[in-house]
Amino acid sequence: MCGIISVIDRSGSSMDGGAIKKALAQMNERGNGEGAGYAVYGAYPDYKDYYALHVFYDNLAESKSAVEAILEQWGHIEHSEEIPTYEQSRLKRTQIPWRYFFRPDASLISGGISNEKDAVIRIINTVNTTVNGALIFSSGKDVGIFKASGWPEEVADFYRIEDYEGYIWLGHNRYPTNTGGWWGGAHPFNLLDCSVVHNGEITSYGTNVRYIESFGYKCTMLTDTEVVAYLLDLLGRKHELPVDLAVKALAPPFWDEIDSMGISKKELYTALRMAYGSALMNGPFAIVVANSDSIMGFTDRIKLRPMVAAEYGDRMYISSEEAPIRIMEPVLDSVWMPSAGEPVIGRLRR
């Protein structure tokens, strides 16, 4: 189970969070009230050159000063504030969401850390593995993740999601199956630019985690989805695979399909499967990944989870069902079902 809805306005025009809240709530049958969340790109125009670090604190007495010490050691906090929230009767507030607009100090970047993004990832790993009661769950520039344990409407109202505007939105309605629902385990998962929402389960999780942790990533959120964010960061940002090829590494063609390909494709896909055998994801899944200029959806190779795509003018939608798209846009130019294992991509026109 789990419900996904996502939209990109390819002209870069902003949409507020009101429509996606209604669309996500339409799929309440796909959730159980233990997790919902939203990602919005274009959220922080006033601070768009700073990494927006969203942190869940258990309490402010112990862990906040430890996190801030780490941030100040590595760079500069331009602005810090509690994320505005509004009491909801049923939503139990177990975390205090805080945000920092942060810039790593270039002069401190050395010793195996060659750039700003690696420095931020290192800070996230340090905080999430060493500071009790603190979790950095959102770290992109001009990106915000808003999530909690609750139903989609409650979580949206808790953060007043309609007050935010952006050109990409992801929404996720969670039905946790293998681990309990908690705030950090709600989707979207984010690392820097990349946000992931996921329906299904990754049965190859053990193999994938061993592989990704050998590159220095740390899985701390007690659920399988975060490994997808890290795999895409590794394959896309670090190994510089084009995004459609990265998807083909995670959900590759079957060997019998590779056997029937022409020689150059055959060599490419054979090499890809050999090089990224441990990144291959098994199990039923439908995933939408966003970064600052696109949204991309793909499913497992044998299509064990649903995915629908649609277009209306500049807007492109990817969702678990057609109805939530129709809630956001009653009349569509086109609506279709992407093929299993094939990425469907909506890109900003720049």
Binding site: A323, I327, A340
Partner: protein
Amino acid sequence: MGEELVIDADGIHYTPLNKMIRSAAASGVKKVILNNVCGQRFIANGLKCDGIDIEIHGVPGGDLSMFMNGPEINVYGNADHAPGNTMDGGRLIIHGSTGDAVAHSMRGGEVYVRDDVGYRAGIHMKAYMEKKPVLVVGGQARSFLGEYMAGGILVVLGLGKDCPVDGRGVGSGIHGGAIYLRNVAPEDVKAGIGAKVVAADEEDMAVIKPFILNFCGFFDADPEEVMNSSFVKIIPSSARPFANKYCWE
């Protein structure tokens, strides 16, 4: 209540919606028209009632007409996953496409889809005594069509398409019933494990003809053009195709 009931389904949850349909059926309404349907699941689930027509305008949610026996439903829009799930009798006519697993475990009645269907259409359809479910698809099906099929008739016409199935594993695990595909050479069917592909003969054509005529009537297709095409049939490769696969005797 009169002969006809019109319901504006905008914003109504499926539970009260189904209650309205049931009470209409119980009080002798002959036609129920649902307008502005958007994502409501389970419409007409378990409804046992002959002589009632239901018209759905919009996009119904998953498991439409599950366990239903008797009514005729017309959907003017696309259906989501598993319409006709375990349907027992009656008719479902979809003027659009469906998501995955249409006619899932269907055990009786007829489902007609004008356009395309998703993955695993007709998965585990079955038949028993006089019950023989039928699924007719006008457009194209995806992989694992008729997976684990145990009975019934599944027809894919591929009208306006290069081939009736875009995918692999046709009839994967089939152990009863038959899948008929129009306008495809037997060697081009990517049959699944335990399935074999044969040419359809005259007897087969006589079996599927009434359902093809129905399809053409519902969707204004040319019956002569459809019937004068070549068909292949996918059936179990033997009486017990999996005797040595899952059990050791």
